[in-house]
Symmetry: C2
Subunit: 397 residues, 2 copies
């Protein structure tokens, strides 16, 4: 039940008013907090003034501030990793199955915190606070558009570090993230090794290879094709929602697996020879309409330029910014756990395996295991509880 | 050498003036022929007047016309399966490695023939003859655009049958095809079982499932986003070349595999943290530029509406048009050979396996084996000679 609801949350971002945790009498509650920085200098050497990001936490910070677990979020997510804002919210945060009182990441014990990324995809979501191309440039009074500086995974990490430092935190108990969040987790371990004794990479990678950089570009292309995009200057006209929805259709399919898709097809009564598309080139198959409707629904709260900047951040990813992944992993002090999904078609298991092997080459302590299930890449989001015990044990050692 | 040249042909469609078969003193020569039909009625019940398609042949038709092997071509190909038009052509047809004198499909023995598909992608290629949305509608004197009827894989087969009948042929020795060509091959075996004693499906499928229908739609979407597309009415203005190139970038990547892509990245000196894309959101990584340049180069000879119609033909594919794949396979009389590629990400091996299993369920004679290599789906085109001996033996039994 939790798994299905979490998947719906990922696919829909909206759900009918079903209480998600009706087996849990008192849902974990949280609030979005705001963090501000007067000026931030990017890895690329550009400055962002009046930087603002949102953050959430679950559990209590200990007096010695030694119980902090940072959760770094995936591409289309934000810092709402667990819990609800209000008891009657349709669904909790995306990893609620493993974050909460008595759960794998136990909020009775740990202070769990997560931060909205720069250029967060959900720029128009009232529960997201982010700074990106849709933000007002204080120097011009207008949205940045493509004048916003390129930001990297390391920039996301640097901003998270500033948030933690503002709370008096100087070290983590662990950093844990899925997908783009796994990139940030490994970046943390490589760039700030004294902060990170434990790192968990779920459905992750250590760097973007040529295949992944090209695949990410395919997500950006439909946005740039949309005539409403206008080189990113659409903030006073119609946004490029068709291009954005096209990008989301591609992302959603690549993040899933034929096993799930074909079950969904059965639910819809999908047939190759459906009458509509046989008779009219302008009509589509049931499975295409299903995918398209969900993408259009999600696009409303997202910003197309932000998607371009997230694509670029992931393309530029090499944990630690060393000369190679093996060179970068030399600095790591954390013990690490890699949990790719065995049937992941987006970040295939060879990527997590390469990072794991680069750590072993450097005589680091690393464990590799695989998630199973019908969801492909999304097994790391909607099907994570299968590794709850392993995650819990890893965090306690 | 042949493999690399064949891959270049697939990716580039143009090559510098290097003789491809400089180890072969007398290249197989062929000429494009034209076939015309005054009227053709589609599976969907619409009529196409003055239908024309091109065809090629290699080898000699026997007096009893009992030595015919039909080659059905893949999505971005045409009937140029082997040989050259002129001895100084840059490259031969795509399956020249297995079609020719003394080769797996021996033109000293067989009359090998192939037919350009309806709505062939290379509508602007002077070596392609096809009828599709870019053709003039005799009723209006203008290009059809989206008024062209939807056509199916079975329509391609029906037109091929008309070509064969025009030559006095009433039965095949075998039908052999890769990818979209495999769909036609199995359609032949299911729809015209008395014609087909042998069928070889390379990197193939028996039907389009929900996953594949959605994945195919992703190829169509960038074209419809291009402002030049104008609902398909672009024949008197600028064609939607950006949308078409975007579609080709996606197709090319999905037809390959990370193993090949990452080797190509090494050749280009790809690095995640390349300076251009780090400094400017408008710049791209070397691997993206490589993919984009090849797609733009190929787009020049192709028609965007034709791509939409080919996508639809593949989406509507269920061999034999039965109630299910198992029901459709009941009529087959051919012995069959399935050769998917083990690392195919486009038509994954489970699809060929399902068709093979549906035949076994019906007590038919079927063999299943897998292609290997770094090219993913394209192992079935550029790496086919690894199964030359098996194909040759299968055709002789």
């Amino acid at each position: 039940m939790t798994r299905i609801l979490a998947l719906c949350w990922v696919l829909l971002w909206t759900l009918p008013g079903i209480a998600a945790n009706n087996d849990s009498p008192a849902p974990l509650l949280t609030t979005k907090q705001r963090f501000s920085m007067p000026v931030y200098t990017t890895v690329g050497g550009r400055t962002i003034k009046s930087l603002q990001v949102g953050w959430e936490s679950y559990g209590e910070l200990s007096q010695t501030k030694d119980n902090v677990i940072l959760i770094t979020h995936y591409f289309s997510a934000n810092s709402h990793a667990a819990g609800k804002y209000h008891p009657d919210d349709a669904a909790p945060g995306y990893w609620d199955a493993i974050i909460g009182p008595g759960k794998a990441i136990d909020t009775n014990k740990y202070f769990v915190i997560s931060v909205d990324s720069l250029a967060n995809l959900g720029a128009n979501d009232p529960n997201v606070i982010t700074t990106g191309p849709a933000s007002i440039n204080p120097d011009t009074g207008k949205p940045y558009g493509l004048d916003f500086p390129v930001v990297t995974i390391k920039d996301f990490v640097n901003v998270q570090k500033a948030v933690l430092e503002s709370l008096g935190i100087t070290k983590l108990h662990a950093v844990v993230g899925a997908s783009m969040g796994s990139m940030q987790a490994l970046e943390w371990a490589a760039s700030y090794p004294d902060w990170v004794p434990r790192m968990i990479s779920v459905i992750g990678a250590g760097k973007s290879d040529a295949w992944t950089t090209a695949a990410l570009e395919q997500w950006a292309i439909p946005i740039r094709l949309d005539p409403n995009w206008q080189n990113g200057n659409y903030y006073h006209s119609q946004p490029p929602l068709e291009g954005l929805a096209a990008s989301l259709m591609l992302i959603t399919q690549q993040a899933l697996h034929p096993d799930f898709f074909n079950l969904q097809g059965e639910t819809l009564g999908y047939q190759p020879l459906e009458t509509g598309p046989l008779n009219d080139i302008r009509q589509s198959h049931s499975i295409v309409n299903w995918l398209s409707e969900r993408a259009h629904s999600r696009a409303a709260l997202m910003d197309a330029n932000h998607l371009l900047y997230l694509v670029r951040a992931c393309q530029l990813f090499l944990a630690g910014h060393g000369n190679s992944l093996t060179a970068s992993m030399q600095a790591v002090k954390a013990k690490t756990l890699f949990l790719p999904a065995e049937n992941d078609l987006l970040l295939m298991p060879y990527m997590a395996e390469a990072a794991h092997e680069a750590l072993l080459t450097n005589k680091k302590q690393s464990v590799y295991d695989e998630l199973k299930g019908q969801y492909g890449h999304l097994n790391g989001v909607v099907n994570i509880q299968q590794k709850a015990a392993d995650i819990n044990a890893f965090l306690q050692n």
